[in-house]
Structures are given as C-alpha cells and as structure tokens.
C-alpha cells in the first residue's frame, strides 16, 4: 500500500516568456508523508503547486495519482481527486459567517445536511477551534486560516497543500497548526508543505525537495540536515552571516515617537495607540509583529505620507517632525524603504535613474530651477548600482526589468547614498533572494555602524534577531517596550505578537 506514491510528478516543465519556471521537475509524495517544498522566492514552487491544483497547465510532464496517470485540468478535478489547498492569501468574505464562507468554497453536495455540525466536529477532531456562526471580520488571522484548513478537511483530502501557512501566525499558533498537520499525517493524509522557513521544515517535515531556479537541486531528510546546510542547498552558495560591528547603542536619540496615536487612513486598517519609541544613533531597532497590526500605518506616519495632528509625536533629531511632508523629512535626514517595491518604492515603468531621482531629487540637488539634472541623476543612479552591486545592464533600464532582490538593493542603496541619519525600512528583505537579503542586512548594519539610527519593521524573526540591537513588538497598534535582542526569546516575542503580554503603562508624564 505504502509503495504507491500518493502523487508523483514526472518531468514537469513550464516556461514563461524569458524564464523557465519549472524545468523537468519530478516529485514523489507518499501517503501520510509531510513533504516540504523548499526554495527561495522565484525558485518555481508556486508554479509547481498551481499545476498540482489545476490552476495552470504545464508545457510538458506527467502526473500520477495513486499510480494512475491523470490530467488535472482544473481545481475541480483536483478537488475530486482529493487535493485540498490552503492558499497563502485567504479568499474569505469579511461580512459573512464562518459557515457561509465554507459553504461558498466547497462542492454543493457537501453543504446539504448540518454543515455547522460537521464544521464543529472536524474542528474539534483536529484541534482547530472554530465557531461556525462567527463573522469572519471578528476573527484573528490565525482563526481565518483555520477556516481554510477546515474547508479543506471537510472534503476528506488525501493530499493537502499548504502554501507558506505560517507567515501570518505567531509562534504559538504555528505549534498548534503543526499538531494538526501531524495528526492528519498519522491518518494517512499526505501534506505538501511549501515554505522557506528552515526551522519549521526541520521540525515538521519527513522529506524535503529543494528547488532552485526552476529545477530540483536536492532531496533530503530535514531531520538529518541543519538549517544552514538546507539554506546552502536552496541558495547554491555558502551563506555569509552578516558581520556585526560592536554594538554602540548609547548614541543620541535620532528618532523618537512620543505618545503617537493615529487613526488609520485605511478601511479595516489598524489605529496606532500611544506608541513610544526611541531609536539612537548606531542602533538597529527591530519591530516584530504579524502583518496588519499597524506596520503600514506606522510607516506612513514616519514617511510623512500621512501627517499626524500632533507634530511633537514624531521627533527627528529632537525636532518636531509630525507635520513635515516627505520631502522635508528627507531633508531632515530620513531615508525610507516602503514594503512594496513596485508601485510604492519605485515606479515600475520608469528607468532606474528616474527612480533614483524619485526620492533623491531634493536631497541630492538633482533639480535646478525646476529642471531635472539628467546627467547628475544618471551619475547618482550609477553610483547606487555600483556601490550596492545591483545587477542591471544599465540605469536606463526599467525598474520592472530587475529581479526583486536587485530592485530592493537599488531602493535601499538609493536611500543610504543620501546619507540618512535615520532610516526606516518596512520588510526590507521581503520576497528577496537570500544573497540579496544578506547584502541588504549587511548594508543596514554598516549604516548603523556609521552612526545612523535604523528602524527595521519585519515579520521575519530570524532576520530581526540577526540584525537588531533591540526588538519591540507591534500588536493591534500598540508597541511593546523595546528589549535588548540578547535578552528576549522567540517565545516571548511570540506572546507579544499575539497580544498576550501586559498592557504597557503610558509611562512618560511630561
């Protein structure tokens, strides 16, 4: 019985214009096996999964399902075979209840008798507490994910695909999820677990297939590997840990938030409540937190895209800056790296030199009497490209033509080359290949060593521990008291991320 693989892919190939997403990929998943699909962003994991779930067609290759060759032409076919998938981005309606959402997402014959009862049953059975009558907008991200999992489980899947399921979860929620997945595995359900988080894969998965640039480069047993060895297989190169200089966090306060309270400008946004924070010269302050807990709002206020009523609540070099617009902030020495590269940090269809000009125009004096100094702007962009090792044929090429990592290096470099006294980076290495991520982290560390204050907001705890001197956690718009990175554990951060920790007293009385 266990000899026949649940799913076998043979020689899957899929090409997009200019890039081969999958080249001759073969993969075997046994019944009850938790199989990791590991690779950097852009390694071809998502393409492969889309193919298994019938969202996309491959150019070549065969799929065997329990020994039979099958054509998965649509997600319906996949579901009928017994493939369930939990996507990274949920497809839920906020204004509907759990039960209604599940009804919408499964085949009609399953919705007939007492769906609510069966939801309760399944959720109890697998330790996924869920109330069918609750409205989705009242649920946490972790609970929302449970809806997706339960939705899959109701259909008795024999293969469950989880796409980066833990990126939105606290460490505690991750543990709960893993319990459920192990239980499913014991019952014979195969699980394809997609991630680039090595520690999780070590903890959970029986086997791992490692992809790089569209090809399978290795298969291994995660239990026998170290996170480092898997990372090296994933990257195809030796990992370089960032070099730390001596911590010097006793400098003057460069950036300070004083009782910052702000209503979000977005629908379903998070209001910021009473945030107090000091970042000193030479210090890297890491802000952990699950996405959607006020990071975006914080960034908008720091960048000046949204101005707060009380100018004093944002202080740059001891000067009230809450009412300054983005240009004035840059003149005051703030460098800004937004989360979205394309469309926020850079204009996709503009050249690199124009994108350099975008944020450096005033500070680097690239405008004279209202006219763009094209030669100087080109020179500035070329300096960034050279200094930060951005791979591009030239600065006249468009931002979209660069890979995520290269564009991010350009954006960070553009800000650093303006000699900021304060730099604020939101998800500085999100979706960036490991090599570029290492370079970006090193650049932030070097900048701090030169005396700048760095505020790095990230969901990636490993990253925060790697670069930060101090770490604070943002949860539902509140900021925890920063702690020295060596004095705080992942577990403590996890509790803070989940909002379990003590309410912080508004200590400053002035």
């Amino acid at each position: 019985m266990a000899e026949t693989p649940r799913l076998e892919l043979i020689g899957i190939t899929k090409a997009y214009p200019g890039v081969v997403a999958n080249n001759n990929v073969s993969l075997k998943i046994m019944p009850g096996e938790i199989h990791a699909l590991l690779g950097e962003n852009g390694a071809g994991k998502s393409t492969l999964v889309k193919f298994i779930y019938g969202v996309q067609k491959a150019d070549a290759g065969r799929v065997m399902w329990e020994g039979q060759q099958v054509q998965i032409s649509s997600p319906n076919v996949a579901r009928k075979l017994g493939v369930g998938m939990v996507f990274q981005h949920f497809s839920l309606f906020d204004a509907l209840t759990v039960e209604e959402n599940i009804t919408l997402g499964i085949s009609p014959e399953l919705t007939k008798d007492d769906l609510a009862g069966r939801i309760r049953e399944v959720s109890l059975q697998y330790g996924l507490p869920l109330d069918p009558g609750r409205y989705v907008h009242t649920l946490s991200v972790g609970e929302r994910q449970r809806i997706e999992v339960v939705r899959c489980l109701l259909q008795d899947p024999r293969l469950l695909i989880m796409d980066e399921p833990t990126s939105v979860l606290t460490p505690q929620e991750v543990d709960e999820l893993f319990k459920t997945l192990r239980r499913l595995s014991e019952e014979g359900v195969s699980i394809l677990y997609i991630s680039h988080k090595l520690e999780e894969i070590k903890a959970l998965c029986h086997t791992a297939t490692i992809m790089r640039m569209g090809e399978v480069v290795a298969e291994c047993t995660p239990g026998n590997e170290t996170a480092r060895s898997m990372a090296e297989m994933m990257m195809g190169a030796n990992l370089v840990s960032p070099e730390r200089t001596d911590r010097q966090t006793d400098g003057s306060v460069k950036l300070e938030l004083r009782d910052l309270t702000a209503v979000s400008a977005h629908h379903h946004g998070t209001d910021l409540k009473n945030i107090n924070l000091k970042v000193r010269a030479g210090e890297i302050m890491g802000i952990a937190g699950i996405a959607g807990n006020g990071q975006r709002e914080l960034m908008e206020i720091l960048s000046g895209e949204v101005r707060v009523d009380d100018a004093n609540s944002v202080q740059i070099d001891g000067v009230a800056a809450g009412r300054l617009d983005p240009v004035q902030r840059r003149l005051a020495g703030v460098g800004l790296v937004p989360e979205e590269r394309l469309g926020h940090g850079a204009v996709p269809d503009m050249s690199l030199w124009e994108n350099g000009f975008l944020s450096a125009a005033v500070k680097m004096k690239l405008v004279k009497n209202g006219f763009i100094q094209i030669a100087a702007s080109n020179a500035f962009a070329e300096d960034v490209v050279n200094e930060f090792n951005v791979k591009t044929p030239g600065v006249s090429h468009m931002a979209t033509s660069l890979s995520g990592g290269n564009l991010q290096k350009f954006i960070i470099g553009r800000e650093i080359m303006q000699n900021p006294g304060v730099i604020v980076a939101l998800q500085p290495t999100w979706g960036v290949d490991a090599g570029s991520a290492a370079a970006i982290r090193q650049a932030l560390i070097n900048l701090a060593a030169q005396g700048a204050a760095v505020l790095a907001v990230s969901q990636d705890l490993e990253e925060l521990f790697e670069i930060s001197d101090s770490i604070a956690v943002i949860c539902e718009g509140r900021m925890s008291e920063p702690r020295l990175a060596e004095n705080i554990t992942v577990e403590e951060i996890g509790l803070l991320m989940a909002g379990v920790a003590q309410e912080k007293e508004p200590a400053d009385a002035d």
Partner: protein, 361 residues
C-alpha cells in the same frame, strides 16, 4: 500553427513609434475595402482623401489652420491624461475661452489697438482655465469624477454660447442672424501667408508643443505628472502633492483649450457664431492618444486628424461620399491604435513555446 501573444520583458521602445504607423496603414487598407464595397475606386478615394487636400499651398495652409486647435488642446490634454486626470470637457473650455476672448474683441469692435489681440489671447486662456477650474475644485474638494463634471460643463458652455449669440451679443445690424458683429481688423490674428487663412495661431501651437515637450521630459512638474499617473503611491512616497497636480493639469489643459477657442475665433472665423468648433475638443482626445500623449506626437497626430477633416470635405465635394466618412476614419484610427498598442507590451509568437534555458535566472 499556433499564434500567441507573449509578454515582452520590457515594453518595446520601438513599438511605441511603430504602433501609430501600423494603425494608420491598417486604417487606410480597411477604408479602401470600405470604398470598394461602396462601389468607389479605392485608390482614387484615398488620393482624394489624403493627397488632394494638401496638394496646394492653400490646402497646406488650411491643414495647419485645422490642426492648430487640435494640437493646442491635444498637448494640454496629454499632460492631464498622463497624470490620470481625465479632462473630457475641452470642448466646453474652448467655447468659454473663445467667449472670454471674443467678448473682449466685441467690446472694442470699433477701436483699433495693437494690444487687442494679445489681450484677447490672454482672456481666452483665462476663460478656458476658469471653466476647467470648476471640475478641478470639485475633484479636489469633493472627490467628484472629473470625467463627468468636465463633460457636463461642456454642454453648459455650449448653451452659454447659444444664449449669447441669440441674445445680448447678436449683431444689432445683422438682420437677426444669430451671429455677433465682425471683429475689428486689429482684433484678428496676423496672417502668415497672404491669400490663405494661415495665421499666427499655428506658431503659437508649435510653441506650446515645444513648451509641453520641455515640461514633460525635463521639468520636475512633468516628472511628477508621469509618476502620479504610473504609480500614485510612489508619488505620495516621493512627496508629490496630488491635489496641486490635479489643479495644474486641469488649468493647463483648460488654458490650452481656451487659447484654441480664441485663436479659432480671431484667426479663422472673425466673429462669434453659434458653432465655433466642429468638435475639436473631443477630437483632441483621439489626437492626444494617437500622439502617444507626447507633445511632438500630438503635433503629428493633430496634422493627421486635420487631414481627415479636409479629406472628408473633399471626398464629399468631388466624389459625393457622405461626410460620415470622416467620423469612420477617426473611429477606425483610434480602434486600430488601441489594438496595435498591445504590441508595445507583447510580441507575437508563432508556434509552440520554446524553452529558453539561458534566460532562466
């Protein structure tokens, strides 16, 4: 055999310029088929339409006269369109600008002054700006849709014109015709070539082309316009002020339309009549897109579009073809242009997809 569209890694720079040429060629080919179906010699029809009108000096002068308002308005609109500010009401701004400038001309119908023409031009610009300021204010204050407000204001503008020429501004000695007095000679734009209607207005249009070109390609305002159109979040990240740009682009396009209106009055018509423009303000929208929203492109597109007007006239006169042919031409041109624009971002591939190993990075 399989024909596929494949996304280009980067938009093709060459196709940006080739695509309008393809559109023009396809329009000509299709219209030849259309003429053949109508029982007309297609070659002769094309010659009548495109060659005959410009085979004399007078014809070329007339082409420039017709192109002047299209180019002026097209350049103004293209700036706004690049910033995603959709001023559809240039026709109304043209009319109000014409009335502002023409009103001044009427007030001094019996006096001669060298300052009259410049003053009328300035009034024309201000009139157009004022009319465009209404949608600008509504959009920045109440977030109304400028497409609707500017379009509706066009009809208001046309009614104002109608009221004035039928009422207070009607020529007292004009046998009750709905027309104003004739302007004084000193209220007319200087003619460039004797015996033609080609006037200084065309030079002004060329000046606006150059100014627009410098603005969009060299000036920080042009840069801001482009960024806000392509990536609004990046514009706010860079600290560009959206409301200011909405005001600016609407005022520029309104001012250009107003200028076109007063040039049309004082250059080509010489008095205020119930129909000042045969829809230049709307045709200029096609001109702006046909010209790739680039001032120099707009100039060529304006000339081409003016040619379709003249060609329509000459086809009507010499070949008895209906005047609707002009509209058909313009429609086909825009249709083919939008279709061939696909080639800027995509390329046509024939056969099954090939795997490009070397490109996989």
């Amino acid at each position: 055999m399989l024909i596929r569209l494949e996304q280009r890694p980067e938009p093709s720079a060459g196709m940006v310029y080739v695509s309008p040429v393809i559109a023009v060629v396809l329009t000509i080919l299709t219209s030849m088929v259309m003429f053949a179906l109508l029982g007309v010699d297609p070659v002769k029809a094309i010659v009548t339409f495109f060659i005959e009108p410009i085979s004399s000096l007078d014809g070329v002068a007339e082409l420039c006269v017709k192109a002047t308002p299209l180019i002026l308005i097209g350049v103004g609109l293209s700036l706004g369109f690049q910033a995603n500010v959709w001023n559809i009401g240039a026709e109304g701004q043209l009319v109000i600008g014409a009335l502002a400038g023409g009103g001044l001309g009427l007030a001094f119908f019996d006096q001669s002054s060298v300052f009259l023409v410049p003053a009328m031009l300035v009034c024309g610009v201000l009139g157009g700006m004022a009319w465009a300021a209404i949608p600008a204010w509504l959009k920045t204050r109440f977030n109304t849709n400028e497409i609707l407000t500017s379009l509706m204001l066009t009809y208001v503008g046309l009614l104002v014109l109608s009221y004035l020429v039928h009422g207070p501004w009607k020529d007292p000695e004009g046998q009750n015709f709905p027309e104003s007095r004739l302007f004084h000679d000193s209220a007319l734009l200087p003619i460039l070539i004797d015996e033609t209607r080609l006037n200084v207005g065309f030079l002004l249009a060329l000046l606006v082309v150059v100014a627009g070109w410098v603005l969009i390609s060299r000036h920080i305002i042009g840069f801001q316009i482009k960024v806000i159109g392509m990536a609004p979040m990046a514009a706010s990240f860079a600290g560009f002020k959206e409301k200011r740009l909405i005001w600016l682009t609407l005022l520029i396009s309104g001012g250009c339309a107003g200028l076109a209106g007063v040039i049309e009055l004082s250059g080509a018509i010489g008095q205020i009549v119930p129909t000042i423009s045969p829809g230049y303000g709307f045709t200029a929208i096609i001109v702006a897109f046909l010209g790739r929203l680039h001032p120099v492109g707009v100039m060529f597109a304006g000339l081409l579009m003016a040619l379709t007007y003249l060609g329509g006239d000459s086809a009507q006169i010499t070949m008895n073809l209906p005047n609707a042919v002009t509209g058909v031409f313009q429609g086909m041109l825009l249709f083919y242009l939008l279709a061939s624009d696909v080639l800027i971002k995509y390329r046509v591939r024939i056969g099954a997809p090939k795997i490009q190993r070397e490109a996989a990075e």
